[in-house]
């Protein structure tokens, strides 16, 4: 690992993004707009007294799912371009360590994800009065960890795609099942055994569980830290797998 090369990579990736105003706008604005849609979807629901609004549950989960989806897409396409344009092979003939490259990417997109979730969380809290027990800082933290998860999975999946068209097709395979089974649509304990077993090992499940911990408790719980720890461990494992797909020498 070499911090100089890692930071040079982060800077380069952000610099590339900086020239792409439309992508920046999409990354920052779209989650807030979708959150608005979710808010108005449940605007007229009638609830018995004491039951929290659906928006407080669904809107909160959306805050973690957006950065995951967006960063997965952005990363898999960017990395695929790097593979097909020859810049990756060129980089790997230089002294850069694979970890510098991957963590450089991870850091750059985490910064974008942090900005994204700051905007989305601010909108959820200040405009739509998101009402949860825990601190918004923890929500942003989980959102950023999720973004890094998206980055790691995107880096890995880009190895199995030859074209950008194929890369996009990985989204339904990798992302959608996690969203379906994370507990957003059906509480996990009400799933059949097979689905629950799958759900138990999907990374996004741990994020949603962590967010529910934040929603229910004013202080961070042990369960929250354990969930966060599991996601971080998964991220590291996926990054190691991704680094194995970066070959300095090919047949």
């Amino acid at each position: 690992m070499n911090l100089l090369m890692l930071l040079a990579t982060t800077r380069r990736v952000l610099d590339q993004l900086r020239h792409d105003h439309r992508s920046i706008a999409l990354i920052l604005v779209v989650p807030a707009l979708l959150l608005t849609a979710v808010y108005f979807l449940y605007e007229n629901e009638t609830l018995p007294p004491g039951v929290p609004r659906t928006f407080d549950r669904v809107g909160l989960m959306m805050l973690a799912i957006f950065p995951f989806v967006v960063m997965f897409l952005v990363t898999s396409i960017t990395m695929l371009r790097e593979r097909t344009s020859g810049t990756l092979e060129r980089l790997l003939t230089t002294p850069i360590h694979k970890a510098d490259l991957l963590f450089g990417y991870g850091l750059a997109f985490s910064i974008m994800a942090a900005l994204q979730s700051l905007v989305a969380t601010a909108v959820a809290y200040w405009i739509f009065g998101l009402d949860i027990q825990g601190s918004p800082g923890l929500v942003v933290m989980i959102a950023v960890i999720n973004a890094v998860l998206g980055v790691a999975l995107g880096l890995l999946c880009s190895a199995f795609a030859r074209t950008e068209f194929q890369a996009v097709q990985f989204m339904p395979v990798v992302v959608v099942p996690q969203i379906l089974l994370c507990g957003l649509f059906v509480a996990r304990e009400r799933m059949n055994e097979a689905l629950e077993a799958v759900s138990n090992v999907l990374p996004l499940t741990f994020s949603v569980d962590a967010l529910q911990e934040i929603a229910a408790n004013t202080e961070p719980t042990d369960q929250l830290w354990m969930d966060a720890g599991v996601i971080v461990a998964i991220v590291l494992a996926v990054l190691v797998l991704a680094s194995l797909t970066l070959r300095r020498r090919t047949a």
Partner: protein, 262 residues
Amino acid sequence: MSHSEATAPAVTEASIAVAATALHVTRGKVPVLRGLDFAIQAGEITGLLGPSGSGKTTLMRAIMGVQALTSGSVQVLGLPAGHPDLRHRVGYVTQSPSVYPDLTVEANVRYFGAMHRKGRAEAAEAIAAVGLEPQARQKTGDLSGGQLSRVSLACALVARPSLLVLDEPTVGLDPVLRADLWDRFRSMAESGTTLLVSSHVMEEASHCGSLLLLREGKLLAQLTPAELSRRGHSADLEKAFLHIIQDTAEVPSGSPERTVRS
């Protein structure tokens, strides 16, 4: 006698930048390189010449250590090709420009420079060397094809490598610029850099100190441009190459006799 035997090989070894021994590379099921043996002198421009499809790029990739070898070996600056210590000392410019189109010229060169701990000054120098100072702050993707390949070259020059491997660096450049680049390569060689430059244009051979003639994955000859025109019986290097190909075709390797069929 024994003294000279002991020292002579050491001296030659130090002056050899690249050495290939019985190098075979098969990609998929196609044999691309079929038993190459050669040595490239340090501090010289070696031209790698041959028609397209003759294996030039695969050979360059093998020297860079990014191509898996089927058998044989390649030694670069005294180490096996692809050795981690070589990454600081060897620069590679691929045939299609491998740079980031959405970055400025300067940002591209500075990024690749950062991998070798080079900063703003070295980047500016590399950009000046390829004559792109006026475009330094332009987005690379907006440049012409020839300018793009010069950005790619600058990204290698910035590292100041001891061995520079260039895959068809002068394709699509106007004659003035091509002459400038060859001057640049010559002055780099004079200051000790070893250059391996591929081309399918034989007229470029005259700029090289030594030539490797490649055809269908085999080494036809290793010689100087002067030897090429003498052995090929023509001052026109293109014709000389053609003659050598015809001569070799008439003498199948392994049999010293001429097959007098045609």
